[in-house]
């Protein structure tokens, strides 16, 4: 049988293919990924798109959690100060309710409590990054202002709105309580209690009842503080979860598209050896034919 007398096209094709393999291996080694263009593995490329999306979303959830966390921490510690102030007011009220004090002493106590009232207004007007934290969603409006004509001594200019922020694929967290609910809830109205206490001390009437009002308001705020405490622990838990998911996503990316380096390097070595062998063959077969032997 007659054989193909011209092996060069095949040999060159083999060289080209081996070089292609070497290029692919080298690219995989340099990028660490086996999927550098979609056609390398279309299904993996599609998964990588979703993986990158989820990874980026998780990073964003972490950032958003951080923002929300600081605001809530501020709110929480402010509430703690509010309760401290209320405790002071209560002590002063209890002192004032003691029948041994004369009107002038009581009036002095009332003045002290007016100071506390101002303090409370200032605390309730907490602002974080340019936003009033306790004015509902009317965050550009200071929620409370001292208003002597008002029965509670203050007016509330905020609203009852609350915000929730998505901090995970299936996790949305309410981030605020409006002042109307925290400080001015009917039956637990802190400012009403304080105003009643001031009025009581100034008139000598109903001091004990006013102290009860303030105590109720303080208890109510203490109860509602749990909301912020819970929110903070939920955020911490979510941050842990997100970190875990980020690690999982990185693992998935590696499983789907990571270059199998030992294998790739071994392939590369094989391809280089094969290239050398092919080139040697081309060099050696070049000169052998019958003409060389004819004299």
């Amino acid at each position: 049988m007659r054989v193909n007398p011209n092996p060069y096209p095949d040999l060159l094709a083999a060289v080209a293919q081996t070089q292609q393999e070497i290029n692919t291996d080298e690219q995989q080694i340099s990028t660490g990924s086996s999927v550098n263009v979609p056609s390398d593995n279309p299904a993996a490329a599609a998964i990588l798109v979703q993986n990158a999306d989820q990874t980026s979303k998780d990073d964003q959830f972490q950032r958003s959690s951080g923002s929300v966390q600081s605001e809530i921490q501020n709110a929480d510690s402010t509430l703690s100060s509010v309760i401290t102030s209320l405790q002071q007011a209560i002590s002063l009220g209890v002192e004032g309710a003691n029948g041994t004090l004369n009107a002038s002493d009581q009036s002095a106590l009332a003045t002290q409590i007016r100071g506390i009232q101002s303090q409370l207004v200032s605390l309730a007007n907490l602002s974080y990054q340019g936003n009033y934290v306790f004015s509902g969603t009317a965050t550009q409006t200071a929620p409370y202002s001292l208003t002597p004509s008002s029965p509670s001594g203050v007016t509330y200019a905020g609203n009852t709105g609350v915000n929730s922020v998505t901090l995970g694929d299936n996790f949305t967290l309410q981030t605020n309580l409006p002042g109307s609910q925290l400080f001015s809830a009917p039956g637990a109205d802190m400012f009403q209690g304080i105003q009643d206490l001031i009025n009581g001390l100034e008139s000598g009437q109903g001091i004990a009842a006013a102290v009860v009002e303030v105590s109720n308001a303080s208890a109510s705020i203490d109860t509602q503080r749990v909301f912020y405490g819970n929110a903070l622990s939920q955020i911490t838990a979510q941050q842990t979860y997100l970190s875990g998911e980020t690690v999982q996503l990185a693992q998935q990316e590696n499983t789907v598209a990571g270059a199998d380096l030992p294998n790739v390097i071994s392939n590369l070595t094989t391809a280089e050896t094969s290239l050398q062998a092919t080139l040697t063959t081309i060099g050696q077969t070049a000169h052998i034919n019958l003409f060389s032997y004819l004299k």
């Binding site: 193909n4 011209n6 990158a52 999306d53 990054q129």
Partner: protein, 459 residues
């Protein structure tokens, strides 16, 4: 009874035949590296004998013809395979370029979609913050630019492919002309009984080239060949070639017309021209349509939420993106952000400045089936999958048809290629035969001399 003169003539025929055979070998050796050359073989036959009763004597050898050795069935298989190879090479190289747009990077559409929704999530933590609002506008602008760039790259690629269509048609026309001319030379020679091997080689090679450009059907006729495109538009009939033409159509791209003016663009399915047309008219438009679907689905949903909320001034929101055309066609290429003032983002659901209700609604779109029933990212990932699959398939087809073609070319080379060992052996053989015939002439000469001397003796 035979004569010495007759023997001399017989010896002479040997010398002549061996010279001819030697010329054939020489030509083979000279053309050892000529592309498309088929080796030639000297066909030697014994000359008709003479009958001198009661004996029959041979009269030597005749170099009857010089034949090119080729397998026409194999050649037509090669031409067939060339068409596939041309088609898939063109398609592969086009799709390799296309898929670069869909490779994950810092500015591919998928990343921009994610960044857009991420910016909304951040805004949700502080909806009245102007810098966060500006970040959303920037991300929206980047998203629009991502769509614009990808769509424009695809359009640019279509235009480049279109240029290639026009050039390929030019090459086809040139080859048709060449083949028609060769047809003429071949039939001229064959009509007078001459061998046209060299011209046939050239024609075979031209047809090989032609078949890698366009799907060609070959109809052999006497001493000639008729070539048509796959759908029957003539390219070459005998010594006449028919030129294909290109004309711009409404889209600015060129369609291909037969010489008689019929639009045959849709009928060209293989060869480089077929592959280029497939990329230009099917693959890339399909991807653009998917991009338009993605862009218009996303933009429409975002605008709907945006117009349902309130901006920083408590005013009802207006479109964030300029609305897509009614049928969606061209959305990706023309997508742009409609507002430049960050306070116009309708983050609020109730008109209060600090409400993030509408921001949350907009963020939720990222996980909703707003693009043909899928979330934007999932839809985009299916585009990536489609593009990758098409590119991988074309590349696999190209490799497969390349291997078959290589195999067929090996077979052709085994039959038609010049083997230097064989030629060397033939050369020795013809040289020996020539030397032998020459020796015979010398011997006859001696015998003649003997006869002449005998006459002298008697005379």
């Amino acid at each position: 009874m035979s004569s010495l003169n007759a023997s001399l003539a017989t010896a002479l025929s040997g010398l002549m035949a061996d010279q001819g055979a030697m010329a054939t070998t020489t030509n083979n050796v000279a053309n050892v590296n000529t592309p498309g050359y088929s080796r030639e073989e000297a066909v030697l036959v014994a000359s008709d004998p003479v009958v001198l009763q009661p004996l029959t004597f041979g009269t030597g050898v005749t170099l009857q013809s010089v034949e090119s050795i080729r397998d026409s069935i194999l050649e037509s298989q090669i031409q067939q395979q060339n068409q596939g190879q041309g088609q898939f090479s063109a398609l592969t190289s086009a799709l390799q370029q296309t898929q670069v747009n869909f490779t994950t990077s810092t500015n591919d559409i998928g990343t921009q979609i994610t960044n857009f929704f991420d910016s909304i999530n951040q805004l949700s933590t502080n909806p009245s913050d102007l810098s966060l609002r500006q970040a959303v506008l920037t991300a929206a602008g980047n998203l629009a630019t991502g769509f614009n760039n990808t769509a424009n790259n695809l359009t640019q690629q279509q235009q480049n492919l279109d240029l290639s269509v026009v050039q390929t048609v030019g090459q086809i026309n040139q080859l048709s002309q060449q083949i028609a001319q060769l047809n003429g030379q071949i039939s001229n020679l064959e009509n007078v009984g001459e061998s046209a091997g060299t011209f046939i080689d050239q024609r075979t090679q031209a047809i090989d080239q032609l078949s890698s450009l366009v799907d060609v059907s070959e109809i052999p006729s006497d001493n000639s060949i008729t070539l048509t495109t796959g759908n029957g538009a003539p390219l070459v009939v005998g010594q006449q070639s028919f030129q294909l033409q290109t004309q711009p159509i409404a889209s600015g791209l060129h369609d291909v017309y037969s010489q008689t003016g019929a639009d045959i663009t849709r009928q060209i399915t293989s060869g480089q021209l077929g592959g280029t047309l497939q990329a230009r008219d099917q693959e890339i438009p399909a991807i653009k349509t998917q991009l338009d679907t993605l862009a218009s689905g996303l933009v429409t949903a975002v605008n709907t939420v945006q117009t349902g909320g309130f901006d920083l001034n408590g005013v009802a929101g207006t479109n964030l993106f300029n609305p897509p055309p009614v049928n969606g066609v061209g959305t990706a290429a023309s997508l742009s952000v409609a507002i430049t003032d960050p306070s116009l983002i309708a983050a609020s659901s109730d008109g209060s400045v600090g409400s993030n209700g509408n921001t949350e609604a907009m963020y939720a779109l990222g996980n909703q089936g707003i693009v043909a029933g899928q979330s934007p990212t999932n839809y985009y990932s299916s585009i990536v999958f489609n593009v990758g699959t098409d590119a991988a398939n074309a590349s696999a087809e190209q490799t497969a048809s390349g291997l078959v073609l290589q195999q067929l070319n090996d077979q052709r080379s085994a039959i038609s290629g010049v083997n230097l060992d064989e030629e060397a052996a033939n050369m020795v053989q013809f040289q020996d035969a020539y030397a032998a015939s020459a020796q015979v002439v010398t011997t006859i000469n001696d015998m003649m001399n003997a006869v002449i001397q005998m006459s002298t003796l008697t005379g």
